[in-house]
């Protein structure tokens, strides 16, 4: 199953893919058509192969460097191969490309270690032999004299006529025409013979595309110290989930990403927390790692135990599209509807919704959130919903609260807009059922040095309107 471009971009998978250093156009094509695996055993087998590539990159480094260097010279000749399959006659340029390809394939065989026998390149020595009749072993090609005795004679005669004085123009044209038809006959015969190998060449092309991608992937896994996921029947568990893209942005400012632990062991999980507390990042990281898991990557965490799902939905503030001329609410609710349709069909989905129904009025918004939670909790899905709404938490869902502002640290030093993130603890705390959502919007506003009058008046309205509600945090 191919992945949607929208999903790849909204969760940051495109950033991960852009870090892969593939060597050939084949590898680049492979990344574009990356397939999403759904079967457990398929993913387990891919993990096994990935381990082999990691061994190749780390233990047989010099061998792998040669291997990658050769792959870098390989061109995408799939068009030519398809022509052969259709029994078309190739021209010299295409024959040259096939010759070079067969030569590089034979050379690559030497650099594939035993533990990577799953690459299983088809031997193309016969293809090379067909295109090297003079046995010169050179990386060049033309219609050699050796292909036909008659051609040799005609070419000789053509030379004689061309160098004689005066040149017999008519005879020269006749001989050149004869040479041309003899060459065409050779091309036709060669193409006929080569067509038997078309499927073997297509097989090798796809194997090399896979090898190029997997080598780049293995290097990437080692560089970023990703963890090997455990494939499980149910549940999605991460210990110290981190985000490479955000970490690289933070490290430019000498900051570090704070990893989080999360366990999705029930159909619905609700995350509450103050603004700026990293809820969206958690959702995006969950989507990203699920995609990475099901495309054969290792994961951005210390440990991970994951079950494959059939589809992933990520609905965030910035995933909305104006293209369809819908309001942000309409767009969101239609997306949610799609998720619900899929889960009602019994599909195992990962559904990640950021601040559901936040753009409409709070009364109806709350009702919508509760309704979505209660429907999803009856199905075979893993849904994570973040919200600021009170009173939507129920026994149907698991509840995480982002730790939030570290009150112990406030006051110890001057807080500015630049360093406010230092005062936030991003870890997720599992709450039992009914706790209230934290209210830290005004605290954050104060930390950000917002006009005092705004804050005091807001506080006044808050106490006026608050009869029996939850006052602070818990």
């Amino acid at each position: 199953m191919p992945l949607s471009r929208d999903l790849i971009e909204s969760c940051g998978f495109d950033y991960i893919l852009s870090l892969l250093e593939v060597q050939s156009p084949l590898g680049r094509k492979y990344i574009k058509n990356l397939s999403f695996m759904v079967q457990q055993d398929e993913i387990a087998a891919e993990i096994h192969k990935t381990k082999a590539f990691i061994r190749f990159v780390s233990q047989d480094h010099s061998m792998q460097e040669e291997f990658s260097k050769i792959i870098g010279h390989i061109k995408d000749i799939s068009q030519t191969c398809h022509k052969l399959e259709l029994k078309e006659t190739l021209d010299d340029i295409q024959l040259f490309e096939i010759k070079i390809f067969s030569m590089l394939c034979s050379r690559l065989e030497e650099y594939i270690p035993e533990y990577m026998d799953f690459l299983n390149l088809k031997n193309l020595k016969d293809v090379f032999a067909l295109l090297d009749p003079a046995n010169l072993c050179m990386p060049s090609f033309y219609i050699y004299d050796e292909y036909s005795e008659e051609l040799t004679q005609v070419r000789k005669r053509k030379q004689q006529i061309a160098t004689a004085f005066p040149v017999d123009e008519q005879e020269l044209i006749n001989t050149a025409a004869l040479e041309n038809s003899l060459e065409n006959a050779v091309r036709k015969e060669l193409s006929q013979k080569l067509s038997d190998y078309a499927s073997a060449m297509i097989h090798n092309l796809s194997m090399l595309a896979y090898a190029d991608f997997s080598t780049a992937k293995a290097i990437f896994i080692l560089n970023f110290k990703l963890c090997c996921p455990e494939v499980s029947e149910q549940g999605i568990y991460f210990e110290q989930l981190f985000n490479i893209e955000l970490d690289s942005i933070l490290s430019k400012n000498q900051k570090k990403f704070q990893p989080v632990d999360i366990a999705l062991d029930r159909p619905v999980t609700v995350i509450t927390g103050a603004n700026m507390s990293g809820k969206t990042v958690v959702l995006k990281s969950l989507a990203l790692n699920q995609l990475m898991f099901q495309t054969g990557f290792f994961l951005c965490a210390k440990t991970a135990r994951i079950t494959p799902v059939e589809s992933v939905f990520l609905i965030t503030k910035d995933s909305q599209s104006m293209d369809e001329g819908l309001s942000s609410y309409a767009f969101e609710i239609l997306k949610v509807n799609e998720c619900i349709k899929h889960s009602q069909n019994g599909e195992k989905c990962l559904i990640l919704i950021d601040e559901l129904a936040r753009t409409t009025n709070p009364q109806e918004g709350k009702a919508i959130v509760r309704s979505v939670i209660s429907i999803l909790s009856e199905h075979n899905v893993y849904a994570v919903i973040t919200t600021h709404y009170d009173g939507v938490l129920s026994k149907d869902a698991k509840h995480y609260r982002v730790c939030g502002i570290r009150k112990d640290k406030i006051g110890s030093s001057k807080i500015k807009r630049e360093n406010i993130t230092d005062y936030i603890d991003y870890s997720l705390i599992s709450e039992d059922g009914w706790a209230c959502v934290p209210k830290e919007a005004l605290t954050i506003a104060r930390l950000l040095d917002v006009d005092n009058e705004l804050i005091t008046r807001a506080e006044m309205f808050l106490t006026e309107g608050q009869k029996g509600g939850c006052a602070d945090g818990k």
Partner: protein
């Protein structure tokens, strides 16, 4: 064997005999038993010239010569040749095919049209065994003669440029003057090479570099250049506006004005002369190596200068060899700098 590995042939105008010049130098180098490669600046999908509706000329290649052209023209050729390489970069006429001729023949050359691809193509031809590569450059586009791309250049001029001989000599001399701009000293060159696009001033004492603008064409404030400034480095296009701006400085004679190479100078002739008159001197990071001027005394309309007069007028003001390849195509005469 000297160090010149690649030579571009550029024309100041159409019909200045660039193709004859190319054929002449192919012959010349071939006689010296040099393994020769030829290629050409691409023609962006047109096989006929849109101005004069004449066909792009076929070039004669000889047995064992290496040539590179686009897939389209490679398929159209009528002689046996052995493919050595097929490039990766795709142009409107296909990829660039490099091949060795197995017999004499005629071919339309059209290599890469992007300079970085051309550079790559030349390097690959040298790797395939060429000792020298001739590049048929574009008409009135000097970019292929940039020292970044080729080691040396040959300039074709002629009656096609103008029928006023004084003007012809003046315009040719101007291009020759630019191509002969002196390089800065090694140390300065190394320091300047690290600076990016834009106009920079470098302080005389501290060698402190300061960027005046991101691009010379955006203009800059001449008053930002102080008396303590030693070098003004222009990394980008040098237009008349830029030179005029510099002319307003009364300490121009104390400054070193440095440009990357002469192909970046697009200022008109008169402005440049005024700049020189005011004791301004342009220097370059990468000096060009002009080895010869070829002249075609006949204009496409049929008018013809006296070949000897024209050559003598040019020789009077230009120090590199000036030849009329049709008249005195003596391929046995030596060419300083070429062999």
């Amino acid at each position: 064997m000297n160090s010149i590995k690649s030579i571009s042939i550029v024309g100041l105008e159409k019909n200045t005999g660039k193709t004859q010049a190319l054929n002449f130098f192919i012959d010349y180098l071939r006689r010296k038993n040099i393994c020769l490669g030829v290629t050409s600046i691409g023609i962006d999908g047109e096989s006929t010239d849109q101005v004069t509706l004449t066909q792009k000329p076929r070039i004669r290649v000889y047995k064992d010569m290496i040539f590179s052209t686009c897939e389209k023209f490679y398929r159209e050729k009528n002689f046996v040749s052995e493919i050595l390489n097929v490039g990766e970069d795709m142009s409107a006429l296909g990829r660039t095919v490099t091949a060795r001729a197995k017999e004499d023949g005629m071919i339309i050359l059209s290599g890469p049209s992007i300079m970085s691809w051309m550079k790559k193509n030349i390097d690959s031809m040298l790797q395939l065994g060429c000792e020298k590569v001739l590049v048929d450059g574009a008409i009135s586009r000097l970019s292929s003669s940039s020292p970044d791309v080729t080691d040396a250049m040959i300039l074709s001029t002629g009656a096609a440029l103008t029928l006023d001989m004084n003007e012809l000599v003046r315009q040719t001399k101007y291009k020759v003057d630019l191509a002969s701009l002196k390089p800065v000293d090694k140390l300065t060159s190394m320091a300047l090479a690290t600076l990016g696009q834009g106009v920079w001033t470098i302080e005389r004492e501290s060698m402190y570099a300061k960027k005046l603008t991101d691009s010379p064409s955006l203009g800059f404030c001449a008053s930002d250049i102080k008396r303590s400034t030693g070098i003004v480095y222009i990394n980008g296009v040098v237009s008349s506006k830029v030179l005029k701006n510099l002319c307003s400085l009364d300490f121009l004679r104390d400054l070193q004005i440095v440009v990357t190479d002469f192909t970046k100078v697009f200022a008109d002739h008169l402005t440049y002369e005024i700049f020189v008159k005011k004791a301004g001197e342009l220097k370059v990071l990468n000096p060009a190596n002009l080895v010869a001027i070829t002249v075609n005394p006949t204009s496409p309309s049929g008018y013809s200068f006296n070949s000897e007069t024209l050559k003598n007028r040019l020789r009077h003001v230009i120090s590199v060899p000036v030849i009329d390849v049709l008249k005195d195509g003596d391929i046995d005469a030596p060419f300083p700098g070429l062999d």
